[in-house]
């Protein structure tokens, strides 16, 4: 259950991050409008959203795919967070931290469930 919450939390953070990035890209008074950095976080949050949704919805996905997506999500979260730091996009940075919490839940709750299943 916690893993499911974690995956959805990650997807929600990614979706909110995508909205924040889009606003930042088009908001002329925001400081990073129409910049490569803003475009980059639009792309990275969009990719994160797709990956998190696949993790949340495709429960029957093979373990190798889940592992690959989780690894990709971690890299995406860290990279987007770093970009947000240098873009001074503090809301996006906060969302990526929330997404990271979701990732941790998804990762470790998944692992705990797998351990329980193995013991049973």
């Amino acid at each position: 259950m916690q893993a499911r919450y974690g995956r959805w939390l990650m997807a929600l953070a990614a979706a909110a991050g995508l909205v924040v990035s889009l606003v930042a890209y088009f908001n002329r008074g925001g400081g990073i409008a129409h910049t490569g950095g803003a475009a980059l976080v639009i792309a990275s949050t969009a990719i994160l959203l797709v990956a998190a949704l696949v993790l949340a919805l495709a429960l029957a996905a093979p373990a190798w795919l889940r592992g690959l997506l989780l690894a990709g999500c971690l890299l995406d979260l860290l990279g987007t967070g770093l970009a947000a730091f240098f873009l001074h996009a503090w809301l996006l940075l906060a969302l990526m931290i929330i997404g990271l919490v979701g990732w941790l839940l998804a990762m470790f709750a998944d692992r705990a469930a797998a351990t329980r299943e193995a013991r049973a």
């Binding site: 910049t35 803003a38 873009l87």
Partner: protein, 639 residues
């Protein structure tokens, strides 16, 4: 003695002491009281506002009061050159006036931002001299004894890239028919010597009594001969020519040109003196054909404002080979030094020196020393054996270039250090050279740019921002330059036609576009003019690349300048990151910042209207800094 009487006497003594101390303070000579009537706030270019509502304690509460988008912006598409909006807004006649890069004048209500009227001269939107559409604002004049019911008793003037000066009624925006022909004077009627391009009126005229003092900008680095640097004094009412001054003698016009005054000027109203920051002669980077003495080039020159006669002049670069134009109006201020009040002039420069002179005589208040300068190794060239140095106040940049940036060198696999070894560098004033070229620090972008410094006349604190930029000056033989015709990319190459050498001018960057030199790339410094000592120096602004903000300690290249208020608040845009800031005059500490649409590469204006103090920034951008351009005029005030 009874305690009450003792207190009274002590209080009286303290009061007298305070009065005596006040009497010792030089009075603010030309502060702007509740207005901002010239490009530099006042004629003495102090950039000082006597307004006191905004203080270091409450400046953090500043909010956007209003903004205007003029619509006059171009990124270079559609046949209109990119815009560079460096205009200082004026506040006078209960109205804010500003010109746009398309040379329209906007008259705006100072409290709401409502546009009262717009004047459009329908100027050609072509880069006739400068590469971009550019304006630094308008000028204002009003009759000493206005005639009621008559138009044009108050006037606003705007110049255009094609050399036309328009006068319009400040209340209605209608052309003043008695000025020139139907409200316009074509300055090019006097462009009779080497008229290879028009005299571009990008800097507003300086207004003093009933005269307009008009300088102009040209086309840099293009040719040996060019229009010589006339300064025109015009009648503010009729546009009739009163007098002219030319920094170049007539017998030099076949070898050189320019030495024009493209920056703002200042005036000492008490003594009737006009101060000209005179630019370098053409061709900018090779002087082999202009070896004669040209004492007014790259100088500060004081004229009698009524006659145009030279009162004194001081050359600040001999035989200029670096395009070290004197590029800002000198700041005039009375300073208290060694027990007496000295009428001073403070001149910031591209070289990073701060020259402090007696403004009545031109003699240095702090020493100026002639030091040996590197020789040229270019055939035909003969660099000046010495150059003037001012060690006090300390220059805004270091004597030697900052050295190779480890980060830039690492990511370019040693490109920066390899190239640095190939370049000729013998310290400040290394002449341009053939081959790989010369490393120049500072280079033509400064040091200090045209924004110049600001002074608090009560404390004697002078504040100035600067850039720290390393460039490469490479001369090319005519054969090498001709070979470029076969190459597609001629960016940063300049003909200097009529000379034996073309020119290649680049920033010292690695293949990633990173500066090869160590930060900070820009700073802001406060000096105590009474002693010449540095009070504080801080990296200023933030570099932004692809939207990413670099560390604060790197600072930013800066264009634009500061203003100071009576309460000790410095307002400044100037940074690459499109933020405007307030700093503490005493410490340099950041007190407030706000995001605007583009780098605010103009001087801010400060005024009080109906009991509320406003700070106005023009967020127009400049492609030298970043591609981000704007058309926003934005006012901030306390809630």
């Amino acid at each position: 003695m009874r305690p009450r009487i003792a207190f009274a006497i002590a209080g009286l003594a303290a009061g007298l002491a305070a009065l005596a101390a006040l009497a010792q303070q030089p009075a603010p000579a030309a502060a702007s009281f509740g207005g901002w009537s010239t490009f530099n706030g006042d004629l003495m270019a102090q950039k000082y506002a006597a307004d006191a509502q905004i203080t270091p304690a409450n400046v953090g509460d500043l909010r956007k009061a209003w903004e205007v988008h003029t619509g006059d912006i171009s990124h270079g598409a559609g046949g209109v050159p990119a815009t560079d909006w460096s205009a200082t807004p004026l506040f006078v006649n209960d109205t804010v006036y500003i010109s746009t890069p398309f040379y329209r004048i906007f008259a705006i209500a100072p409290d709401t931002g409502r546009v009262k009227w717009i004047f459009d001269p329908h100027a050609p939107l072509k880069a006739l001299t400068q590469p971009e559409m550019k304006t630094r604002g308008v000028a204002y004049w009003q009759a000493a004894n206005p005639v009621a019911g008559q138009p044009c008793q108050k006037r606003v003037y705007v110049g255009t890239m094609d050399g036309k000066l328009y006068a319009v009624d400040a209340d209605t925006g209608r052309a003043c028919a008695d000025f020139g022909r139907g409200g316009v004077v074509d300055v090019n009627q006097w462009n009779a010597v080497n008229p290879v391009w028009p005299l571009s009126l990008l800097q507003p005229p300086t207004v003093y009594k009933d005269s307009l003092f008009v300088g102009w900008a040209g086309k840099d680095w293009a040719s040996k001969t060019a229009p010589p640097g006339w300064v025109f004094a015009l009648d503010a009412r009729t546009g009739q020519l009163k007098w002219t001054f030319n920094p170049l003698p007539a017998n030099a016009w076949r070898q050189t040109g320019t030495s024009n005054v493209w920056a703002s000027m200042s005036v000492d109203p008490k003594n009737g003196l006009l101060y000209l920051p005179v630019s370098s002669p053409s061709p900018n980077f090779y002087g082999g054909e202009r070896k004669q003495a040209l004492p007014y080039t790259t100088s500060i020159t004081a004229l009698n404002a009524d006659t145009g006669q030279v009162v004194w002049a001081r050359q600040l670069v001999h035989h200029d080979l670096w395009d070290y134009d004197i590029n800002s109006a000198p700041t005039l201020v009375d300073i208290r030094k060694d027990g007496r009040t000295v009428p001073a002039l403070v001149q910031s420069t591209k070289m990073g020196f701060i020259f402090v002179l007696d403004r009545l005589t031109g003699e240095p208040i702090y020493p100026i020393v002639e030091r040996p300068a590197p020789a040229s190794n270019v055939p035909g060239e003969q660099a000046s054996p010495t150059q003037p140095y001012a060690d006090l106040p300390a220059p805004v940049i270091s004597e030697r270039w900052p050295g190779v940036s480890t980060l830039a060198d690492l990511v370019s696999f040693g490109e920066c250090s390899r190239r640095a070894k190939q370049l000729r560098y013998l310290g400040k004033f290394t002449p341009p050279s053939l081959g790989a070229g010369s490393l120049e620090y500072p280079a033509t972008v400064g040091g200090v740019e045209w924004g110049g410094g600001a002074v608090d006349p009560t404390s004697g604190t002078y504040v100035v921002n600067n850039s720290s930029v390393v460039m490469i000056y490479q001369l090319l033989t005519r054969q090498q330059y001709a070979a470029l015709n076969r190459s597609e990319d001629r960016t940063n190459y300049y003909a200097q036609s009529g000379t034996p050498y073309g020119m290649h001018l680049t920033n010292f960057l690695n293949w990633l576009g990173m500066p090869c030199w160590k930060p900070p790339f820009g700073s802001i410094t406060a000096y105590d003019l009474k002693t010449g000592r540095t009070v504080w120096r801080e990296p200023f602004g933030v570099v932004q690349k692809w939207g990413f903000y670099m560390p604060r300690s790197w600072g930013s290249v800066t264009i634009g300048g500061p203003v100071i208020t009576r309460t000790g608040v410095i307002f400044i845009g100037a940074s690459m990151d499109s933020k405007v800031r307030a700093l503490d005059e005493r410490t340099g500490r950041l007190l407030w910042s706000a995001q605007v649409d583009a780098p605010a590469v103009a001087l801010p204006a400060v005024y009080t209207y109906r009991g509320r103090q406003y700070v106005l920034f023009t967020a127009g951008g400049n492609s030298i800094l970043t591609p981000r351009l704007g058309d926003q005029l934005v006012a901030f005030a306390l809630p």
